[in-house]
Structures are given as structure tokens and as C-alpha cells.
């Protein structure tokens, strides 16, 4: 494969890559100016739809289709919410974009607001990204000063404001209706859908919620065209009429037990093995990988050594497109955050850490999720203290199977994401868990006294 030339990350190593001046010198905002002058909003939407762009935040929903759900001829306002709550464990691609090249994201926001006829974008950014917040605020200030934001932009009659809105350390705010509730000043309890936000969203008005990387892709689709976008990635599977394809570039983050944790941009569909071995510098300390989380914790685990059916390849060889992880029992591509776990690490510790996260971040609204995640943590906690019981593995799988949107017991997908790593870990590494229980294995990691859990 020839070397891929990054687009989304093309400018990140330039000096002052976050400044308007440099961004414009590199051709920035020309696509927006052209769209404003020569295209109708519907044409921008059509272009995004025809590009096949799918949301980069985790669910992979086609972006143009989402936009098309907005009611036609609505008396307004319509809102855009930018989802920069990026909290999925091991994911940091949006942070890099916002810190290093905020203007390509802001151009995508302007283009999107123009397309969906929204006068206001609420940019919901997690509190933990203080540097990104300040970088974005100065980028936004630059845009107001240059006449690219505010009233009657570039004399065209188009009005647009972008407001940053800081979160307060809650994972659930990344769920689009949780984000909206939080924006409105309430607890971030996800809403029952339908109605979807496109019909009734922020402040009860039609609203589009898009991820930061998705919006950066919008910029490049309008700048370089549909053919360029579709020349990258993987076309739809002809045997699957529901597959929308996996087109375009994608930011993959590589973390955990690798030599070089980093964020890289590659075409969708790159094999997992290549991401780890070539781009992540391989597994650290000369060890071998045992398990990999291929797309953020919610997606579950890949067993690196498990042979694929009728093939001498293993789960390590799956392609990282929207379909690949699903073929080996993972929930999906998720955020494309790749986390490597080496062969010296206990899966009991890994699973305990996973359960700890979801028990902490369950918003508490739906009983099956609130109680289920807490029970899964209790069980994995006793397992790592050497007090696991024979029946524990079946209980864990049973709980994991029953919480979530798929079994129909919760309002949002957090619980599906909490159950998936449990199910996949136990299914794929069952003998390791059984052995740990039988031998009374204890984790070497000491548990600390915690202040009040929240």
C-alpha cells in the first residue's frame, strides 16, 4: 500500500497551526466562501449526503441523512450542537483537531450551519479540554473580527454565532440527547427517542448534533469534492444492502501497551494489525499483544490470537472500517480508538477497570443500567481480590446481555457499551477467568480508599 498523505492532520505540526492567518494561507475558508456565494444550502446538504460521510463519534450514522431529517420549511430557529464531549476511554482524536487546527473544524461548522440554516452553533466541549477550549475561543474571536461570524457574514445575509459551552465531567453528555439536556442546564439524562433531535432537540427546536471530526470532514468534502472523499476507504459490501460503506479518512488513536501512543490519520479500513505494528510502533517491552480494544471501551475486545473461520488469519487482521470489528463480535468501529493489552496483563484487571468506568459514568436514570453496571463492578472487584465464585462468569454475561437499548431495557446506549466489553472478554478469554477464580488469583494492584463515589 502506498503511503497515505494526511488531510485532517496535514497542518498539525505547522507553527501556529491554530491561527486564522496560517489557515487561510493554506486555502482555509475558501470552500465556505465559495459555498456561500455559489451554492444553495440544499446543495451543500446534497454534497455531504452523496459523499457517503458517516458520523465519526461512534454510531457511524450517515451525516447527510441526519441533516435531511430536519423538517422542511421550519419557521426556525434550527440549532447545530457540536459534540466535543469526547469521553470514550482511550479516545483523543477530537482533542488533537481542536488544539492544533481548530479552524478546519470551525469551517465545517460554518458550512454545516449554512446547509441546515442554523443561526447558532452550541459547541459543547468537555471540561477536561481546557487547552482546546481556550484555543477555540481565540479562533472564534479571530472569526468575529474577520467578519466570518456574526451578522450578515461576508455581506451575504447569512448570520451565524458559535458559542462554546463547557461540560462538567460527565461521560453521558456525549450521548446526543444527554448533551442537549446538559446544554439546557439540566441533569444530562438522555431523552426517550423518538422524537429524535432533528425533529425536537435543543430548546425543543430541530437540532443536529455532530461530532468534531465529522465536521472537519465536511470542510474537506466541500473543498476537495465527493470523488476525492470516495476514493478513500471501503465501498459498501454488495452482499449487505444495509451497508452504507466506509468512505473517507479517519483518525485512529493508538494507546495502551504500544511503543508509540499517538493519533494517526489513515484511510478507513486499515487493518488493525497495521495500526498497531506500523503506526503504534508495535507492542512495548518486546511483548506480544493479547487483547485489543478496537474502538473505545464500549466496543469490547478483540482476541489477537483467535483464528478467523476458514482462514489462517486472526482477529488481529480485521479491517478497521464500520463493519470490521462487528465481524468478530465487537459492537462496532466506535471512535476508532485502538488500545493494546499485552500478554503480561490480567484480563481480570482489565475487565474490572472497564466495569469501574461504566459504574461511575452510568447516569442513573434507567434502573437496569444503574444497578447492572454496579453489580458488574462488585463481581469483578471480588474476582480481583481472589474471591471470585464459579457462577460469577455466567452472572456477568447474563447482566451484560440484559442491559441496553438492544434488549430494550434502557433509554440510551451507554448500557450496551457497558455490557459489550464484559461479554466479549468473558467469551473470548473464558479460560483465563476460570483459572483465576479456581486458583484464587489476586490482583497485584492495590485498591485505594476512595472518597464518596459520584
Amino acid at each position: 500500500m502506498s503511503k497515505y498523505e494526511p488531510v485532517l492532520l496535514a497542518r498539525v505540526n505547522k507553527p501556529d497551526s491554530h491561527r486564522l492567518e496560517g489557515y487561510r494561507a493554506d486555502g482555509g475558508y475558501a470552500a465556505f466562501q465559495r459555498a456561500l456565494k455559489e451554492m444553495k444550502p440544499e446543495e451543500v446538504t446534497a454534497k455531504v449526503k452523496d459523499s457517503g460521510l458517516r458520523g465519526r463519534g461512534g454510531a457511524g450514522f450517515p451525516t447527510g441523512l441526519k441533516w435531511a431529517f430536519l423538517p422542511k420549511g421550519h419557521p426556525a430557529p434550527v440549532y447545530l450542537c457540536v459534540n466535543a464531549d469526547e469521553s470514550e476511554p482511550c479516545t483523543f482524536n477530537n482533542r488533537i483537531l481542536m488544539e492544533k487546527d481548530p479552524h478546519q473544524v470551525l469551517e465545517g461548522i460554518l458550512l454545516s450551519c449554512y446547509a441546515i440554516k442554523s443561526p447558532t452553533a452550541y459547541f459543547y466541549i468537555r471540561y477536561e479540554y481546557g487547552a482546546a477550549y481556550r484555543t477555540l475561543q481565540s479562533a472564534i474571536d479571530e472569526l468575529y473580527a474577520a467578519g466570518f461570524l456574526g451578522k450578515n457574514i461576508l455581506g451575504n445575509g447569512f448570520n451565524c454565532d458559535v458559542f462554546l459551552h463547557r461540560g462538567a465531567g460527565a461521560y453521558i453528555c456525549g450521548e446526543e440527547t444527554g448533551l442537549i439536556e446538559s446544554l439546557e442546564g439540566k441533569r444530562a439524562w438522555p431523552r426517550i427517542k423518538p422524537p429524535f433531535p432533528a425533529i425536537e432537540g435543543a430548546f425543543r427546536k430541530p437540532t443536529i448534533v455532530n461530532n468534531v471530526e465529522t465536521l472537519a470532514c465536511v470542510t474537506h468534502i466541500l473543498r476537495r469534492g465527493i470523488d476525492w472523499f470516495k476514493s478513500i476507504g471501503v465501498p459498501p459490501d454488495p452482499k449487505n444492502p444495509r451497508d452504507a460503506g466506509s468512505y473517507g479518512p479517519k483518525l485512529y488513536t493508538i494507546a495502551g501497551h504500544v511503543n508509540e501512543p499517538k493519533c494517526v490519520e489513515l484511510p478507513l479500513g486499515v487493518p488493525l494489525r497495521e495500526v498497531v505494528e506500523q503506526h503504534g510502533g508495535g507492542v512495548w517491552k518486546g511483548r506480544k499483544a493479547k487483547a485489543i480494544n478496537p474502538g473505545g471501551l464500549s466496543m469490547g475486545f478483540v482476541d489477537v490470537n483467535a483464528k478467523l473461520k476458514n482462514s489462517d488469519r486472526t482477529e488481529y487482521d480485521i479491517p478497521l472500517d464500520f463493519n470490521g470489528p462487528g465481524t468478530v463480535g465487537c459492537l462496532g468501529l466506535g471512535t476508532a480508538a485502538v488500545t493494546v493489552i499485552d500478554d503480561q496483563t490480567s484480563m481480570v484487571d482489565v475487565l474490572h477497570n472497564t466495569c469501574q468506568f461504566f459504574a461511575h459514568e452510568s447516569c442513573g436514570q434507567c434502573t437496569p443500567c444503574r444497578e447492572g453496571t454496579a453489580w458488574m463492578l462488585k463481581i469483578t472487584d471480588r474476582m480481583r481480590r481472589g474471591q471470585g465464585r464459579r457462577e460469577d462468569l455466567d452472572i456477568l454475561v447474563e447482566v451484560a446481555d440484559r442491559i441496553g437499548i438492544m434488549p430494550g431495557t434502557t433509554i440510551c446506549g451507554l448500557a450496551d457499551g457497558a455490557g459489550w466489553p464484559v461479554k466479549t472478554a468473558i467469551r473470548k478469554f473464558r479460560s483465563e477467568f476460570e483459572e483465576a477464580i479456581k486458583s484464587g488469583w489476586r490482583s497485584v494492584v492495590k485498591a485505594l480508599p476512595m472518597a464518596a463515589a459520584h
Binding site: 469521553s87 441533569r187 501497551h257 492495590k446 485505594l448
Partner: protein, 161 residues
């Protein structure tokens, strides 16, 4: 007795034009108050409610959802130090690092040092996995935190004003 200064109230009011209703200013207001007072006392909840035409219970309802905000009995120290404990950091020594901070600062997780300088917290994934184990100093990332780097960081925060 009121605890919000006129200046602070003005800064809260400055957010009102951004949103179609006043309730949306709840989170910005809570942030502004906690940044200044190091907690959100119950008097401040009532004052925020008054500014935003809400019942104090509505402000408290939102505030208590986010474990982020503290009441007057759990006031924050001058700096807030969050140690990430999620998977990417855990795999590279986060649990040991958190233990190290507890020991050096002589506080349990959630506690504040006796000199009032540092509040130690754990955090779920702070999105700094390329620098694991990582910590957050207030809202800025500190990457690749070794025990030595941790000690230097403590020194800096202790000597800061």
C-alpha cells in the same frame, strides 16, 4: 448573606444573550462560581436561581448530577489535581501513580492537603492517552507523569500562589 459579588453576577448575566432561555446559563454560572469561591455554597445556589428565574431546587438538581461541583463542606483547594484511572492510563501505571500522589500529599482521593493548596481527585478518561499515565491540573493536561514528575508537580503547586 449574599456571596456572589456584583462583578461575578455581571459575568453570569453576560451569558444570557447566548441562549433562548435563562436555564441554559446554569452550567456556566456554576463554573464561574466554583472557580471563584472553590465551591458552590447553598447561598450561591439561591442567588444563581434568582438570576436565572429558577427555583433553587432546579439549580441544585443540575449541580448535584455532576460530581464536579462541591458544596461548602467539601471546598476545593487552590489547585485541583485529577489523576486519570481509565484503561489507557491504568495499563501504564495509573493506579500506582494515584497511590503515589495519595502518599506524598497525605490525603485520600477526594481530599485536600492541610495547607489548602491541592485537592486530589481521580478522573475517568481525560483524553490524554498518548501521554499515559496522565493527570489534569485544573483543566490542563500533564502527560507522561512519572513518580519524579509527580513530585516536581506537587512542588510547583505547593509553591504557587
Amino acid at each position: 448573606m449574599a456571596v456572589l459579588s456584583d462583578h461575578l453576577k455581571d459575568r453570569i448575566r453576560a451569558y444570557l444573550p447566548r441562549y433562548p432561555n435563562k436555564q441554559a446559563v446554569t452550567l456556566p454560572a456554576l463554573h464561574l462560581v466554583q472557580d471563584e469561591l472553590r465551591c458552590v455554597p447553598s447561598v450561591a445556589i439561591r442567588e444563581i436561581a434568582e438570576l436565572l428565574d429558577l427555583a433553587p431546587a432546579e439549580v441544585h438538581d443540575a449541580m448535584s448530577f455532576y460530581g464536579f461541583f462541591r458544596d461548602e463542606e467539601h471546598k476545593l483547594g487552590q489547585s485541583r489535581l485529577w489523576v486519570c484511572r481509565s484503561l489507557a492510563c491504568m495499563l501504564r501505571g495509573a493506579d500506582e501513580l494515584l497511590g503515589h500522589f495519595c502518599e506524598r500529599l497525605q490525603v485520600p482521593v477526594g481530599g485536600t492537603t492541610t495547607d489548602g493548596k491541592i485537592t486530589l481527585e481521580f478522573a475517568e478518561c481525560i483524553g490524554a492517552c498518548d501521554g499515559a499515565p496522565a493527570v489534569l491540573v485544573n483543566d490542563e493536561h500533564e502527560m507522561d507523569v512519572t513518580a519524579e514528575k509527580a513530585d516536581r508537580l506537587i512542588e510547583e503547586l505547593r509553591s504557587g500562589t
